[in-house]
Symmetry: C2
Subunit: 201 residues, 2 copies
DNA sequence: TGCTTGTTGACCGATTCGGTTAATACTGAT
DNA sequence: ATCAGTATTAACCGAATCGGTCAACAAGCA
């Protein structure tokens, strides 16, 4: 790729990146046209090909950027240092929401890319995804101190409940399209407090 | 459309319908090619155009079929007659899962169609969607008898928790792609029993 | 053998695609 | 005003794909 891309204003860089995320998140790799991306970024197709030598390079660049950005946001959120599981979940969702505010289609793009199997990109795509995929999964139950929770409580089911509800939260938010950061966070905070009264001693 | 379509074996009808759901659920209307649909249904493109006069007609037929089928499954499930909210949620999800087993991409198709805005189909699409969209939404809290639940419990938050977790359930299931009916239902039953011990007196 | 019905391959004109290139607009120093 | 260098684009290209048609083929059956 042309290093001059990084000399562009951050605003213009992000406009191009977000246009890429949006188009690639709505269609498969093959059916995402570069001219559509250029149009959404409000630049000409020629300019897009000036900064990125071809479609494949641009696509892989987006994937790499998406992962680096996600990691950065999650690390900065402090959710990994958190020992209180409720605060951990809150900080995790908070980071995801902040991310969505700046890059609204990034997570959908990454999700779609994860299942992309076009011959032109799949091999190199896997290579980019591999080192990150082992991190960041919240699916499994973290170690918990049972003495903190109500007696007889099934901690596995408790965690499953909270994990699924968080997923449902993100899902609903993306469907409706609007990312009202403050309201969503307030609602989620309320739900977490509800869980605390329910689960904690 | 050609009425002879309905004279086909149910298996062949469903093969064509499912191929349509799959392709249209993965791309926008405009970017869903009829030859791709024909290929996935294992028939020739010519035959597809023999049963449906053009792409638009086929697409709208799929939408109408999707809604009728969904309504049928939901009504048959008995979830609307159920007064126990836990059983109601279970039966609702049970119906959705049975539906997914026979038409794996139908719900994704319907979701995508809901936001489709291609000029060629959007007007007639809205007309088909409108009468159904007021039904079937579980987002709002149904009337509940507070005396059944633990004192001081916030019923709104309880319902929100369960609703979001159910959404997360469906979401996770569709992402992973596999629809292991029995396992999913067993897991969900377990989660519901967990909620019962948590919420009921 | 013929007749009907189900099904297809080959084709058409229009459009779209990724990518190139020559020309234009812009900028800042002289 | 000029000019050099850079940022940006319109116009173009060959190849592929699209929705849709149609004449021909296959299959059953009288």
């Amino acid at each position: 790729m042309n290093e001059k891309f990084f000399a562009l204003s951050k605003e213009k860089q992000n406009r191009i990146i977000n246009a890429g995320y949006r188009v690639f998140s709505k269609n498969s790799y093959k059916k995402s046209p570069m001219n559509e991306i250029a149009f959404e970024a409000d630049i000409s197709k020629s300019l897009l090909f000036f900064y990125f030598k071809n479609k494949k390079e641009f696509y892989l660049f987006l994937m790499k950027t998406a992962e680096e950005t996600t990691m950065k946001y999650l690390l900065d959120s402090g959710c990994y240092q958190e020992t209180d599981i409720f605060e951990m979940m809150y900080k995790g969702l908070e980071a995801k929401i902040k991310l969505m505010r700046q890059y609204p289609d990034m997570s959908n793009f990454a999700l779609k890319a994860y299942y992309e199997d076009d011959d032109e990109v799949k091999n190199e795509l896997r290579k980019i995804i591999a080192p990150y995929s082992k991190l960041s999964t919240n699916k499994s139950l973290p170690p918990l101190d049972p003495s903190l929770y109500k007696d007889g409580l099934d901690l596995r089911l408790m965690y499953q409940d909270m994990y699924l509800a968080s997923e449902g939260y993100m899902y609903n938010m993306q469907q409706t399209g609007k990312v009202d950061v403050d309201k969503v966070l307030k609602d989620y905070r309320q739900l977490i407090n509800f869980w605390k009264t329910l689960y904690l001693k």
